[in-house]
Subunit: 636 residues, 2 copies
């Protein structure tokens, strides 16, 4: 048996240990004014001189001696012997004590007349009005904003002493290749330290990423020793689990003290904290989402306790679109996508796994499930911390169903019309369920050609709605992809790879085999299932299988031969009320536009003959008004 | 008569003209991944390869052929002939189809035993699970966040095509010196284009600042012609008012069309929009706050209409601490400081003038008063857009009264204890009024030494509160500053400069003159009033006056001679409930700390003998328990 985590600390306890064990190192640095936004003032900033340094005119006009204007009226104007013509900002010469606006003067023969007496110091900006020499402009702790730089420049400030912290980041792992290098089989790009550097730099940290250290305790120890010497905080990435090559804990123990290893937080459980020469060493788990959690929930609060400003936090209340299970005893952080449907914010959890990097990319927020909570029912109102601009939510259409490159192209074009499309890919049936519970705006569905299903009715009943509208995006050619070419008689000789049950392509394949009288179990690999057509193509290209079912576009993108067998309809399904939504109208125009059509033609493999047609489901489970006018050539 | 604004457009109308006249130039550029945060994706990002490219292990364990484990139980363990020892992330060799966790195996003699059958593909991450080759990772329009960079690095992305916009910024004005140069008399640092560059760069613009152009229409025209050629948007700073040297409008007309000049917005009225070769030219007013308004309310919305992300907007409801007057017909933007007093947010307007750069530096938000509104009563709830982290509000103590360097030093130190101090300087009486209406936490007051007032009671009645507590910060020496030295007999010979009525130093001076039997009007310049002691010292140093009253610290900081005549007490006055506030306790400890004392000694001019003493006002208007134990030496 290998070692396991001896104990898991609670998140609260771990954070308390982290914050109280490491007082502020009070490091500072200087930055140029133009690069100072977001930084925290460490050396109070004082004005280098008074502004204005002398009395200046606040108006375009003439400088006067106020006592010489006394008694001037419309009836008895005063012509001035002493004056100076000034524009706004000019010095008021010492012999004058007021400015009369040019509009209130009458010029004649090079002299000026006034018809009202001037009060002493009127329209004069006294020396030091804006700021006085040595006056405090920014106290310690001020977080510099863009508009502050104007005042700072005016007052003579070109560089600013700011809070600084040096963070050393050590990537470990023999399987890693550096960012920018294409990984070979079994290799992984070392991306967690890239993310750590970008994230902590945003807070104002000066980050040093050390070269990748292979899983060799001596080399890890050497690098860690150096990093502790050179930095205020060290992050060591990976090697914190319990595998045979996880040396981080023992290396920390050999150089200093281990404060904790293992916290009841998900993702992020293997997080580790050590203290070497009084400095904190934080062990980041290798899984990207776990590393993110540790950066956001451990590293960031430590820097905040040292005076660095937190990232802006927008919290909204969203209704949970589906149940969310949580492990009791663990503080859990779950990526959430928040969309606005009608007047309500709907939150949809994204994959919770440590691997699923795309889930935080696609989510626009996350929720924190406290340790005692076992989960939430669908419909629960919960707090979501947004990771994007809150204003973008109202401009986002939210789709759940089956994705296709045609939808990705649509998403790209939608942005040019000010729309965002957020789409997840759990499949047809989850899409229909979400559509029925008003948890998405539309369900993009891949429907087998009509001949493979007696009726769409049973499928559509998953939505529970009876007023569905179908917007046709494209028909997609479906067939058998292979490296070598394929004939139906090969089926029982070659290594086949399949898609999961209940996928449209599997339905087509099952129907075809039955019609040909072939027992699926005779097909070598028929039960070997992968996610979808993209994975089928990748498996064939990489030699794991000889043939499988996928779309013509995917086959050609992977350089595979393709034998067409059927087609699928790619439809955007909505509840009919959605047709009145201006965003959906924009989308419909977009789908019908020549530009979108041209883009799909460029991708290839689509039949666009009824693209943009709106249809409904009739009593016999058929889409009306019309079936595709003509099938693509080559289908049988 | 000089020209005036011919017409003022409404803000709405001006924005409509701005947005509709200039469609998106659709400029793009490439940035490195590490510098991509906050940028908007212009070229959709696709995965360069599948991740993982091959099947890999999701656990530390052994790779097995699942069919060889069938039937394994505790009673009938199966010893495996074929297996491979794997760590998490290792390739699962093609001959295996499942992974058994190391904890569920028993090793003996180099072979492994399992006691449970393995399901096909268990603990195997299939090729392409995270992302498939050519899969869309980021659609056009996605705003890149720090954590996105991890996924992008993993998926092979090193540079990203992003929205770009080139903004040319032209400073004009013969009175300007470049940022970093100390201005001579009548000169001003060219800071508005610095601020414009910093602000627009934050949005993702590539800014070019052109060298300062003097007020010469031909040279302005040449620079503008070049800038229009080289950029998508041109800002031309100043020269937009109606003075004799305001050439911007005529230069724009000579090269293209003027769309508008003059908008009913404050500050920012002289804003100008032109169109040259189809490109927008925006004329920024010269006053810093007016320039800020035009950057935030015109330039930023134009970039947003071109797809650039808005800055995060936090809006809070705050109760207005004092009445706020607005010019009906003008959309007005007013800097506001928001503080939390008890459970309530209180908003205090800061100077509205175009000059007052410090008002946006000290404010943490602003409010937009729509054109029809004439103003708001004190107590009105209004929307404030925050310009700082909302979390900082609860950590901020808010003072209104009279400022002194001793308070600035306190503010700097407070940040080390996690506190911010926001203080404004309208004087003693406004501070007392605010204290009474619960619109500030404390009023820092400069009180004339007891001998100059029969009772503090009348002064304190301005607060309307009768439960005031006084925390003594320091006693400040007051006297006559001069370049040449000063004797009481000089008073009627020299040029004197005074502080305003109702200031403590003026009270002291008036009392002293009366006791000496001197008529104030005999003193040359006695009625020439400046803001406060700092301005007095500056006026003397710059030769505008020979002598005036100020504090010993300010005199010595300005290199002036000083004849002490009295002292003032610098007190922090609070309602007694505030004594229970933990933030105020922190502050009291800070004032009593040796470090603070040492800092005040370093500044000089303070008597610290009763620093940190808490007192109350007794029936006879005296502070008890004690008056200062001993007056500083040299006072009479």
């Amino acid at each position: 048996m290998v070692k396991r985590y001896l104990e898991l600390r609670s998140l609260d306890e771990a954070l308390r240990l982290l914050i109280t064990s490491f007082p502020n190192p009070r490091n500072t640095g200087r930055v140029r004014l133009m690069e100072s936004v977001g930084r925290v003032v460490a050396d109070p900033v004082f004005a280098k001189y008074s502004v204005p340094e002398v009395n200046i005119s606040a108006m375009d006009g003439i400088a006067v001696r106020s006592r010489e204007t006394i008694g001037a009226t419309d009836q008895a104007p005063v012509t001035l012997d002493h004056f100076a013509r000034l524009n706004t900002g000019n010095i008021v010469p010492p012999e004058f004590d007021a400015v009369v606006m040019i509009e209130d003067t009458w010029e004649s023969g090079g002299k000026f007349q006034v018809r009202k007496s001037a009060a002493p110091w009127q329209h004069v900006r006294p020396a030091g009005e804006d700021v006085k020499e040595n006056k405090l402009i920014l106290p310690r702790g001020h977080v510099i904003r863009a508009f502050d730089t104007g005042a700072l420049a005016t007052f003579g400030i070109t560089t600013i002493g700011v809070l600084a912290v040096r963070v050393g980041i050590i990537p470990t792992g023999s399987e890693l290749v550096p960012f920018g290098v294409r990984p070979g089989p079994g290799q992984v790009v070392e991306s967690n330290t890239v993310m750590a550097q970008v994230f902590l730099s945003q807070m104002g940290a000066d980050c040093t990423r050390y070269p990748i250290v292979p899983d060799d305790p001596d080399r890890i120890r050497e690098t860690l020793r150096t990093a502790v010497k050179e930095n205020d905080l060290v992050l060591i990435s990976a090697g914190s689990s319990a595998g045979t090559r996880d040396f981080t804990e023992s290396v920390i123990r050999s150089l200093g003290d281990l404060i904790f290893h293992g916290v009841a937080v998900k993702p992020g459980k293997p997080v580790m904290l050590g203290k070497i020469n009084g400095k904190p060493v934080l062990g980041l788990p290798g899984y990207p989402l776990a590393a993110q959690t540790v950066l956001r929930e451990f590293a960031a609060p430590l820097l905040e306790s040292w005076g660095f400003p937190p990232a802006p936090r927008f919290v909204v209340k969203a209704r949970l679109g589906q149940a969310l299970v949580s492990d009791p005893g663990f503080d859990e952080f779950v990526p959430i996508f928040v969309g606005r449907i009608g007047e309500e914010l709907i939150g949809t959890p994204h994959g919770k796994g440590g691997f699923a990097q795309m889930s935080t990319v696609k989510a626009n927020g996350y929720t924190h499930i406290p340790a005692p909570v076992e989960g939430y029912e669908a419909g629960t109102l919960l707090d979501v911390l947004l990771t994007t601009d809150p204003g973008s939510i109202g401009r986002t259409l939210f789709f759940i169903g089956t994705l296709d490159p045609a939808l990705e192209e649509l998403a790209n074009r939608a942005h040019d019309d000010g729309l965002f499309i957020h789409a997840t890919n759990p499949g047809n049936i989850p899409g229909l369920l979400a559509l029925g519970s008003n948890s998405c705006h539309a369900a993009p569905l891949v429907l087998p050609a009509r001949s493979f299903l007696t009726s769409y009715q049973p499928l559509m009943q998953f939505s529970g709605a009876n007023n569905l509208a179908f917007l046709h995006i494209a028909a997609v050619g479906l067939g058998i992809a292979s490296l070598e070419g394929f004939d139906i008689n090969d089926l029982t000789r070659i290594r086949f790879i399949n898609t999961r049950k209940d996928t449209p392509s599997r339905t087509v394949l099952d129907t075809l085999l039955a019609s040909e009288g072939i027992d699926p179990l005779q097909v070598n690999g028929y039960l070997q299932e992968v996610h979808g057509p993209q994975a089928v193509a990748a498996a064939i290209r990489n030699g794991f299988a000889d043939a499988g079912i996928c779309t013509s576009g995917i086959a050609s993108a992977n350089g595979l031969r393709f034998v067409p067998v059927a087609h699928e309809d790619y439809e955007l399904v909505v509840q009919k009320e959605m047709l009145a939504d201006s965003r959906f109208r924009t989308l419909t125009s977009l789908i019908r536009s020549p530009g979108y059509r041209a883009a799909l033609e460029k991708i290839g493999g689509y039949d666009l003959s009824i693209t943009g047609t709106l249809r409904g489901l009739n009593g016999s489970g058929t889409l009306t008004p019309c079936m595709p006018g003509s099938l693509p050539s080559g289908y049988r």
